[in-house]
Symmetry: C2
Amino acid sequence: MTQTAHSQSTFSETAYTSRVFPLETMTVPGCDETILRGGRHLFPLLPDAFVGVRRIGVLGWGPQGRAQARNLRDSLADTDITVAVGLRPGSASAADARAHGFTEENGTLGDWLAVAADSDLVILLIADAALAAHHQEIFAALKPGAVIGLSHGFLLGHLRAHGGDFPPGHGVIAVCPKGMGDSVRRLYEQGAQINGAGINSSFAVHADPDGRATDLALGWSVALGSPYTFRTTLESEYRSDIVGERAILLGAVHGIVESLYTRYRLAGDDPVTAYEKSCENVTGPIAHTISRVGLRAVREGLDAAGREVFDRAYCATYGPTRELVAEIYDEVADGTELRSVILAERRLGTRPMSEIGGSPMWAVGAEVRARRVSRELQVEPFTAGVFVATMTAQVDEFAERGHPWSEIVNESIIEAVDSLLPYMHARDVAYMVDNCSRTARLGARRWGPRFQSAYEQIAYPASELPADEELLREFDTHPVHEALSCAAKLRPSVDISVA
Amino acid sequence: MTQTAHSQSTFSETAYTSRVFPLETMTVPGCDETILRGGRHLFPLLPDAFVGVRRIGVLGWGPQGRAQARNLRDSLADTDITVAVGLRPGSASAADARAHGFTEENGTLGDWLAVAADSDLVILLIADAALAAHHQEIFAALKPGAVIGLSHGFLLGHLRAHGGDFPPGHGVIAVCPKGMGDSVRRLYEQGAQINGAGINSSFAVHADPDGRATDLALGWSVALGSPYTFRTTLESEYRSDIVGERAILLGAVHGIVESLYTRYRLAGDDPVTAYEKSCENVTGPIAHTISRVGLRAVREGLDAAGREVFDRAYCATYGPTRELVAEIYDEVADGTELRSVILAERRLGTRPMSEIGGSPMWAVGAEVRARRVSRELQVEPFTAGVFVATMTAQVDEFAERGHPWSEIVNESIIEAVDSLLPYMHARDVAYMVDNCSRTARLGARRWGPRFQSAYEQIAYPASELPADEELLREFDTHPVHEALSCAAKLRPSVDISVA
């Protein structure tokens, strides 16, 4: 298996123009991408971007709905555009929405179909299963010319699997923050002090009957606080999003830390040390190093002996994880993965999913976190080789499948090290799996064990062999380093707070 | 989650009549099933069963083709029916077929399409991927009235997934031995000394344009050496076969032994002891006890302290594994699982699949096997509780989905303890996964890790809790014990030889 030299997007032209916002060109390996650098200085342009929109309806009050409704309302506070939240009758979220100022009294909280019928931009942030079950009712409620907004491509996959389509005559756009809803809100708040703090977003224009779609999407992204916004398609977003959370963002991380914890324990480490060398190392120093100075720097920060260990771990891991990411990608692109999610929802009904946080390693997490103040952890070379190889495998698979570089580095690296891993660092990986969206949770439970077994049964035994020099050379000269460095220039100087 | 009281087949009437063979009634919980007890004393009836068949073409020389062609030829030696083997041009198997007496010179070896065109019964035993790619050519080559024979339901699943069907005017029957091809041959040979030695088979009549199908299928099964033959449908066979190999027959066993080995190692056992308590215990004393005296006897053979450990392991394991078997069943019934196999074949192309036999535990297998002569291993209560609970979970899921009892006990218990586990005892579990059919291998690699994680993350932590008395009572009074005991009466007094 060889790595892929560079990506050329096969999903869409990544160049585009805006009537409203000043765009920039980001030069990435092999091509240029047009991007929008965000920030509060752009808020005065929002009324122009939202032309024709007097009311935005946000359906759903999960982590994304809760964050996006508030960010949009705050960013549009000086305009005459209102933001309303629509909930299902009897929704348990109503109290929290009211507590955050969305109330029936002021006309910003209501039944989801009523809010959909009243809004010029209807942003669908209800759970995937609810979207699968109720999108037809929502479509039927829309007023003429209302624009449909999405924050990931699940609905496209669902419609495709069932031979359906979006209703004609409506714009369909997506703005997809590359981080959890919680981070979308927290970093937005930090943006009041440090302009541009936020979570990067991709945007897609799927249907544009009146030419407003691109600027509306860009305005939405700016209003969420995205430091930079890049273009993709709904299909490309869907694939990279669903694959990414099954691989390096969630599923693979879980497999990595479970397998490494056991490996260190069997080698004689006590539980706390094994946890520090595995989970704590990934969510702490490795994520931090990648976030600050990039992928290659993880290896370069090691001494000679450490590099030798890193190299063997990297080379043993790259092949089996590349194979697994390819398998996930095939199943997502084919629709098989989505069918399994829908089957699971049907089978589980209203029963709670069993939790995976009971395995022995998580019992020592609190003790490890308590020790943080007294010592600084160094990058563990073996753990780093395994993690970086898995991340690179995803990057290469996405590149081979034709995703644009912005999407690749955001969906494989930046979302991991700047949003999810810091959150896992504050809690732990299993907690995150047990508490994320159902589609992500089902996917992580489906593929995390596959990664764990691939590490234990294929990669770790192979790590006894000498490193493959060709694979290391490919890593050293990999275009991802340049692409990540371009994207990193747009990163605001603030870390996500997870207090 | 509660267990299912008993099964009532929803797939078909399990009663049927034969013009040729003396049938028996087996009383199982809730109903009677018509079965055929096999043996060499029935060989004189074969010409009557095979009326209209002068030539049987066996396409493929994998483990089943190799066994079935030889058994059929030997059983029909005193008749004027010939058995020919058909292979793809340039097949690497031709030399071995010739070495076993199927030659071009004597007219019993030829191109697969030519053999198909010449035969009155065409038994399709080529690999699933080849069957998916070439069934149309084979159908087109058949002579009028030729009967299509299958040994599992893969092709039905494939046709259904692609909107195809079997060609009209042809009988379509299946005889499905509940064991590996190798066992089908070995036990047949042992049958020369002990009448009735063999592997049980199910049969199905999917299309019967001229009324010959049932006796033809029964004759085929008798000629293979099946000790008992029971009726099912192609759909029911397909589901139980594909689910079974992903669960207790292969995938779950792999997950059980990998997770238990690690558990015992972490508890302080040396590698050889940990292997003996996990893998060796399942393939040795546990399988042997179930084969000889049934499922309940595993628990009853333990002392009070052992039963307490068994009970906690059983109760902690039943729920999570039942959930997993239900998930597998849904994906198989929906066609999702088959799509993933076809995607994998496409992705892998001609590349070899990576092997899973490299994990640390398998390195000590040889040493453990060498120690067998000097000591007899006792049933390990924790291992037994985990294994028996997983097996019972599969039994219950099959019962809830409406499979007939013969199919349930053969596909969940007898095939495991009388065919596959003895083979794994001779080699090891990973070796078996790495060397079984591609559909089974892909399935075991897909689901084995899911079982492993469910044990490690959900079941084993829960095994610290007191046992659920209700679940234990259900196990104690489970109708499977009666069904298994009925089926066991038909078991010949010979074990499979795996020398």
